[in-house]
């Protein structure tokens, strides 16, 4: 959740700065020169410290491990003993260990690892469902509740409840609901006998969708709360003016509310992408990310954690996820900073 909070922070902070700079535009050139002169040695030291500490922490805890992962992805390693520059030897009773394989791990992942492509596909489906169903649904709930319909506080509480549960707990709760012989759904719809049971979490053609229902259950509430906060901040006069001009509810939302909430929309978009890429907990709780629930994050874990111990291979999968994650991160950074720099 820290990343979401960070994302939100960055955005609001940035918007504030943008506003400030916009206000200051007329005097921009002169101001900059003046302010440069005003920095004392002490100011510079403080600025350097405030930059250096986060940068070092970032390098040590994020980019350092990332680079090490890239290096490890070129080896075949069980996690025991050292790494060697020699190439791997086949044919032993035990798999060779700590030897250099180059890009072989990536090649294996793409051509000789059955769960890989399903995992990529499932990650994309996950993103698609979040972008086109869960997040819009949360926005819709927020707009509905914001209209002040009767009992809106009750709805708000009910819809927000799943957000307060950990994903692991959500997985467990839904496991009871989906259980084939003893679960709630099958019992209610009468599909709990062995002849006709629906195996919600075991059938690989169903279980991804079943888990996406769980995930959306939470994501919608999460987006709702974020969006509701944004909606409260929209000037009611704007909406009222639009209504007096004869706009219907649909038009008021899309022409007035939505555009005036651009900062919050960006937050929601970032949260949606982050939540999709880091999807892991639910599938891991359900079946460790196998049999129809393959996700890249789960494959990484299954190879690195546990007895499987294919550290090099798992690292290669991690690098793939890193590259995929860099796409939305780059887009976001470009949107927030790049464009302004060009302006």
């Amino acid at each position: 959740m820290a990343s979401d909070a960070n994302g939100a922070l960055v955005v609001t902070h940035d918007v504030a700065r943008r506003d400030a700079s916009r206000r200051a535009t007329p005097a921009n050139g002169g101001r900059r020169k003046r302010s440069a002169r005003r920095f004392s040695r002490r100011d510079i030291l403080v600025a350097v410290a405030m930059l250096a500490i986060p940068v070092l922490a970032d390098l040590a805890f994020i980019w350092g491990p990332a680079v090490v992962s890239v290096a490890l992805s070129l080896f075949k390693w069980s996690g025991v003993g050292g790494l060697h520059a020699r190439s791997c030897i086949a044919g032993g009773l035990f798999p060779d260990n700590g030897c250099f394989t180059g890009v072989q791990n990536y090649h294996e992942a793409a051509t000789n690892y059955p769960p890989f492509w399903p995992a990529v596909e499932h990650n994309l489906i996950w993103l698609g469902v979040f972008v086109f169903i869960a997040t819009p649904l949360g926005m819709f709930f927020a707009v509905l509740i914001d209209t002040g319909l009767r009992g809106n506080r009750v709805y708000q509480t009910v819809l927000f409840m799943p957000v307060m549960l950990s994903l692991a707990l959500i997985g467990i709760i839904w496991e009871f609901i989906y259980s084939p012989n003893y679960g709630l759904i099958n019992t209610v719809i009468g599909h709990n006998t062995n002849a006709n049971l629906i195996d919600w979490l075991g059938d690989p053609s169903l279980n991804l969708w079943a888990v996406l229902v769980e995930a959306s259950w939470r994501q919608a509430g999460y987006v709702m709360v974020l969006y509701l906060a944004g909606l409260k901040a929209v000037d009611a006069n704007l909406k009222e003016a639009a209504r007096i001009d004869g706009a219907n509810a649909w038009q008021v939302f899309w022409r007035v509310t939505f555009p005036s909430m651009m900062p919050m929309n960006v937050v929601v978009a970032v949260v949606t992408v982050i939540e999709s890429l880091r999807a892991f907990d639910l599938v891991y709780i359900t079946n460790k990310g196998t049999n129809g629930l393959e996700l890249l994050s789960a494959l990484i874990t299954n190879n690195i954690v546990g007895e499987t111990s294919r550290i090099g291979f798992g690292s290669a999968l991690g690098v793939v996820l890193l590259v995929i994650s860099l796409i939305p991160i780059s887009v976001f950074v470009y949107q927030m900073f790049g464009r302004r720099g060009a302006r």
């Binding site: 035990f94 496991e175 259980s179 012989n181 062995n194 195996d199 059938d203 690989p204 079946n287 499987t308």
Partner: protein, 450 residues
Amino acid sequence: MKRTSSLEDLQFSRRAALRGLATAAGLVTIPGALAACSSSTSSTSSAGSGSSSASTGTSRGTISFGSNYSDPAPKQAFAALVSNAKKATGVNIAVNTVDHNTFQDDITSYLQGTPNDLATWFAGYRMQYFAAQGLLEPVDDVWDKIGANFSDAVKSLCKGADGKYYFVPIYNYPWVVFYNKSTFTQKGYTVPATWDDLMTLVKKMKKDGLVPFGFADKDQWPALGLFDILNLRVNGFDYHIKLMHNQASYTDSQVTDVFNHWSELLPYMQSGAAGRIWQDGVKILEAKQAGMMFQGTNQVAAQYVTDGKKLDDLAFFPFPAINPSYGQDYIDAPMDGFILPAKAKNKDAAKQVLEYIGTGAAEASYLKYDQWDVAVATGAQVPTYNSIQTASVQAMANLKGVAQFGDRDTAPPMATALETAILKFIANPAASGIKPMQSSLASQAKSIFG
């Protein structure tokens, strides 16, 4: 093989592990006085070991024992074993219990970090794999003393690939076909001896409205047991072990044959196995909705006890013969026991405890609280055996070869690959899918072992 996959355990085990470690550490730091006291009052001594530990100056000392016997029944049995070991050796033992699955998942880092002086583990390749990486301490000197208590078959499962001993066993249990006696009597079924008998029986059961085979594979390893037994029955022990050790290829026609038999049986096995935990599978047998279930006694009989059912009605038979030249000569009978990590601190005391554990008396003290496993020491006297345990002893008495289990006989990543392929096969058993699955398995084996 994993027994449980309790979700709460997953959540809290790490904390529990830390707490356990803290406790163990606390106990270790208690000055030698206490330990010395306990050893002087206990008159029993394992021959010859006194001098070596005396030289360390801490008398027999204290050891920590890492245990994955986290379910209530095994935990109780283990506590009984430990308390008897304390009495017999004078070594003070601090037990550190970790959730079963977590323990297995962490084994690599556990053995490389600060492991306990002794730890629970599994016999066969799964132990040899870690021994070969130098993570286990040879215990040949222990076996010099306990060797006479065990058969050659057991001994070979306790040796590493280098021929040294790395393991001391406590019990094993067979994978067999369970049924309720009342169901068989009521419907007039007879125990099938051959594949044809079995197919006749399952057809009859289906007609009678029963699920012929209860089946659950959410944990992914249970179906591996069926793969093993089909391979053992169709192709024999030697081929099975060759395949597991990457000395035969998954593209072989023998493997096709295994999956062809499985396809024939699959319509008579409970559907929806991929979403069902084995505990729920056993419940179907308990409720007499299923006619049979193929699983280990360590799961089925244990679950009957957990659910408060009597074991009187439960019985089993070895999987029917398929290839007459191999008959019912082989079986999966996983053997559990203990290892001495190479990084253990108090190896002398740990070896004394192992010397005690490697006796029929120690096994009997464990099995007093365990109603489903059986002793592996030759001629162990266990007066507390029930009908299931007595039948297990008989079922394993005349075998010509004992395999451990798919995930204990091969490299861990290969077991995972095989489990994944089998799940896919269960969901879509079309004959056209078998060959592609075999070549995928073969190329994965090449990449894993290569």
